[in-house]
């Protein structure tokens, strides 16, 4: 699914401009870093795509879905194709690793055998199979993020949105998580990752979109965290 953002603005009441005049197209299978300082609008942009936030102006389409005119049932079906990873993981503390991941498929009414198979596969993929019976509080930050990624991709979504997925992790663990996101991207999933992590962006060069004060100031293929002086 392609993401097309055209002339989008978001103003929070009373008059806080979070995004202004955003034009952005992300093609299927791309990996995009959203960079910028705190308050630059990265999270708002991601939340526009999940339709937790509605644009004040402009058009936003994801595949065939026009996000401004969406009924609640369409929204549910749309969100099944968009995985989300949060900086604070948002794992359910009373569920085990397996249950946290299986939960998504149960919500979708998948048969138990298929749920077991899929959850097993995805936990193997993120390296959490051996920790599958543990609860979130028994996991390290990196492990929690792996489970959160597993939960986000277990349904094989077309798009994966990651909001500061390495924000709470040390460099080594952040690299592990990054490798995981790249492998997910390599299997055809579009990945949009909001990050502050200069090291990661510079080490794994991908398309970089930079926001400042709600405006898009840079869109660079295989860019660096900071603007290249020769750019």
């Amino acid at each position: 699914m392609d993401i097309r953002i055209s002339g989008v603005a978001k103003v929070f009441p009373p008059d806080i401009v979070a995004l202004e005049d955003i034009y952005l197209t992300v093609s299927r299978g791309e990996f995009v870093y959203l960079v910028g300082t705190t308050g630059s609008g990265k999270t708002t942009l991601l939340r526009l795509i999940t339709r937790e936030v509605e644009a004040t102006r402009g058009h936003l389409t994801v595949g065939d879905f026009v996000l401004r005119k969406m009924k609640s049932l369409d929204l549910a079906f749309y969100r099944r194709d968009v995985g989300v990873v949060f900086q604070d993981f948002k794992l359910l503390s009373h569920l085990t690793v397996t249950e946290n991941v299986a939960f998504v498929l149960e919500v979708l009414g998948m048969p138990p055998r298929e749920i077991r198979e899929r959850v097993g596969e995805v936990l193997e993929r993120v390296g959490m199979w051996r920790r599958r019976f543990l609860y979130p509080e028994q996991l390290s930050g990196g492990e929690k993020q792996r489970v959160a990624i597993a939960r986000a991709v277990v349904n094989s979504p077309s798009i994966l949105l990651a909001d500061e997925p390495t924000g709470n992790l040390d460099t080594h663990t952040a690299e592990d998580v990054m490798q995981l996101l790249l492998s997910i991207n390599a299997s055809g999933t579009t990945v949009i990752m909001a990050t502050h992590n200069k090291y990661i962006v510079d080490a794994y060069r991908q398309r970089v979109v930079e926001l400042r004060g709600g405006r898009m100031i840079r869109d660079e293929k295989r860019g660096r965290y900071e603007e290249d002086e020769n750019f």
């Binding site: 929070f12 937790e52 549910a76 079906f77 099944r80 359910l92 149960e106 919500v107 939960r151 349904n155």
Partner: protein, 294 residues
């Protein structure tokens, strides 16, 4: 089917996770439904007593001549509230008086000629009709006098009306109280699961899928509360009727098991409906807000 199983499991989880709140809601709902059931039983018994008294309530209308009996019967029967009209000829009235006096029939012989006038014995469908019927009867020139237990009739009408209002009041209070309790319990459950709900909605759960376990929770609490109330009411009422039978035997309390079955079914129907409506209101509002973009 799989989704249904998932919803059922979630419902059970909700009930058990907050077992203290669930228990409190059950007790409150049961108390409220007990109050409703008790007031309904009170009303049914009062109505039954009123009906018995009303059935025995007779208006005696005396007319001038025997011919007036035939001439007026149709008009009297047509007065609103009149359920039965019986003509009483002077001879029949005398016979009745004789039967009443039993061993003292010589008193009748002293009278010589039959002094008793012809009359109508009028029965009413409800005691409250009595004053109106009496007014109508006195409007006929052929009617000489009307005799009836006016005060008793009015008092019975008042008691019946009061019982009706009391039951309606109790029902309204019960509906509001149980709705509020159920509504708040569901709100607490929602609050405790708000993070889970937000994740569910983000991964593509439909609003109905999210709401259903909460609605079922409300319905289960409603039906269990009313079931508990019905059983308790049955026990208390059985003891009460035994006590009344021994101490005030002339007071006739209804002891029909079908009445309890009907009352139990009505209470459970009410419980499940209230549970459904209150939980649907609580969760519907929350889910609508949760999916509405900022």
């Amino acid at each position: 089917m799989r989704i249904f199983k998932c919803v059922l499991r979630d419902t059970l989880r909700l009930l058990l996770r907050h077992w203290g709140v669930s228990l409190l809601t059950l007790l409150t709902a049961a108390s409220v439904f007990f109050l409703v059931g008790a007031s309904a039983l009170l009303l049914v018994n009062l109505r039954s007593m009123v009906q018995k008294v009303e059935a025995g309530l007779v208006i005696q209308a005396y007319v001038k001549n025997v011919e007036d009996l035939q001439a007026l019967q149709g008009s009297v029967a047509a007065i609103p509230g009149v359920s039965r009209v019986e003509k009483v000829h002077p001879e029949e009235a005398l016979q009745r008086l004789g039967a009443t006096l039993q061993g003292h029939t010589q008193a009748l012989e002293i009278l010589g000629e039959n002094p008793l006038p012809p009359s109508f014995e009028i029965r009413l469908s409800r005691a409250s009709f009595a004053p109106g019927v009496v007014r109508e009867l006195l409007g006929y020139p052929q009617v000489e006098d009307v005799v009836y237990a006016g005060k008793l009739a009015e008092r019975m009408a008042h008691i019946s009306s009061f019982a009706g209002h009391f039951s309606l009041g109790a029902l309204l209070i019960a509906v509001v109280a149980s709705s509020l309790v159920l509504y708040n319990t569901i709100r607490i459950s929602i609050y405790s699961r708000r993070e889970e709900i937000s994740v569910m909605l983000l991964v593509g759960a439909t609003p109905t899928f999210v709401a259903l376990p909460f609605v079922l929770q409300g319905m289960v609490l409603g039906i269990l509360g009313s079931l508990g109330a019905s059983l308790l009411l049955g026990g208390v009422y059985a003891s009460f009727t035994d006590f009344i039978r021994e101490t005030v035997p002339f007071l006739q309390i209804i002891e029909d098991p079908r009445l309890f079955l009907r009352l139990g079914l009505i209470l459970m129907g009410g419980g499940i409906t209230l549970g459904w409506i209150s939980s649907w209101l609580a969760v519907g509002r929350y889910v609508r807000q949760a999916i509405r973009p900022i």
